[in-house]
Symmetry: C2
Subunit: 301 residues, 2 copies
Amino acid sequence: MGGDLAPLEAVKGVRQYLAQSPEAHLLLLGDEAQVAPLLAEHDLPAGAYTFVHTPQVIDMHEHPTKALREKQRSSIAVGFHLLATDKIDAFISAGNTGAMLVGSLYSLKPLEGILRPTISTIIPKENGGTGLLLDVGLNSDCKPEQLNQFARMGSIYAETILGIENPRAALLNIGEEESKGNLLAQAAYPLLKSNPALNFTGNVEGRDILLNRADVMVCDGFTGNIILKLCESLFGITQQKGIDHDYFQRFNFENYGGTPVLGISKPVIIGHGISREHAFHNMILLAQKMIYTGVMQQMSI
Amino acid sequence: MGGDLAPLEAVKGVRQYLAQSPEAHLLLLGDEAQVAPLLAEHDLPAGAYTFVHTPQVIDMHEHPTKALREKQRSSIAVGFHLLATDKIDAFISAGNTGAMLVGSLYSLKPLEGILRPTISTIIPKENGGTGLLLDVGLNSDCKPEQLNQFARMGSIYAETILGIENPRAALLNIGEEESKGNLLAQAAYPLLKSNPALNFTGNVEGRDILLNRADVMVCDGFTGNIILKLCESLFGITQQKGIDHDYFQRFNFENYGGTPVLGISKPVIIGHGISREHAFHNMILLAQKMIYTGVMQQMSI
């Protein structure tokens, strides 16, 4: 039921996925009156899914914690309950982002040794490659050890899911030298440098974010969220100006499907509010890959 | 002597300026052996400047504090001495940025009531307008009251120098609501909101930076520096990809000349390391405007 275009685009995404993965079985959560006619209309193969009626909807503007507590029969609340009780292996929604984060933090067990879960974004590099930036908003104030853990989780994700071999991890900073930065960056640098689980390449600056200088870039969630949203805005601005170049097409974050929450026991994927068919299809494929590779379990310490 | 293209481009910029402002008198600081032949070659009118021989040069990679102390006969050290002793009204250099900042902080008196000086950058808005973002690197860790002062200094600069009437000041944040953000943003919001010297419009997010949502945007210098350098990189990336659009031309920060240090007693303008003729010309015009409007004195509290 989540997202501005729900539930139609989700149904179309599921159909697209099932057409290519006929062996899969999905649980679809939503308001039966709205969803059932769409499932029929789009000819979803009956044996490929189980429908779960969730009559309540958490609005995009509701307070996450309050809404989750009060709307226990919403698709998001039911989804987390199914995930926490091992009825499903991964959970995907393009609904209220805050509720998805609150559910991830409080319905699921954090991974052994992980201080705080994190969310990341794909960064389209100008050479055609893909980078990962994290945290992008779950942790607006961070401790140095959290950045160190983000770098490790991001590196595992980059290697296992993005297919980047021995990914280069870097600290996003305001200078190249080790001594540069705010108090957080200065304290995080030696932790990253001495972490044997990382291929640490030092600091990168703002000018390096879109260049091929590092594969995994870590920062606090305040800085990361501002970068993410600034990058997102480039797609709209270039479209509006009629600049129709492949590179800026890659800033259309709709294409990527969604962002997984890293550092929890099972895959949770948070979709963009304006996710369409293709994005939902990609999110299901991402969840499938995360389940098969066991990427989350690799992250426990 | 400062900048990658010194001293030739500085000399050409001075000539460009003097051609349009024959009544002005400039002090030119540099190594005589290198500069004198250029002044002759470019036919600078002899009465329009006084040349001051400064035999030492602070390299782009030297440690700022150490270099300023040890190279008292460098153009930067002499410039700050002349400024502090009222021999000149403004000082411009495209040299070692760190040395320019250290000189601004320690050679000059801070303005009455100002906790910390700040540096800003021009933000090219997608509607053709111009915004101001500050701090962009002088203060990597900030206190809430500093952000409040940056907003006020930025508003005075935007109104007096950029010609924006009653500029809208905003807090750069990771959500629209007052309660959002990291600890700094949460504490700064009520200060900005209750500051009668501001036309405060609330929070702006990363996606709003390039849009016409606010004229003056404040953040800590860590976040601001990363945004500045990310924006700067867009010019090079679009050039490299053959995207030759007016909008991205405006991300060529060379055009703007340089950034003034706000909150000190006299104008100091720090040029980009690769400043050319046109940038030097613009920096002198900016210094002139800052002197005539008395913008710095307006900022004392």
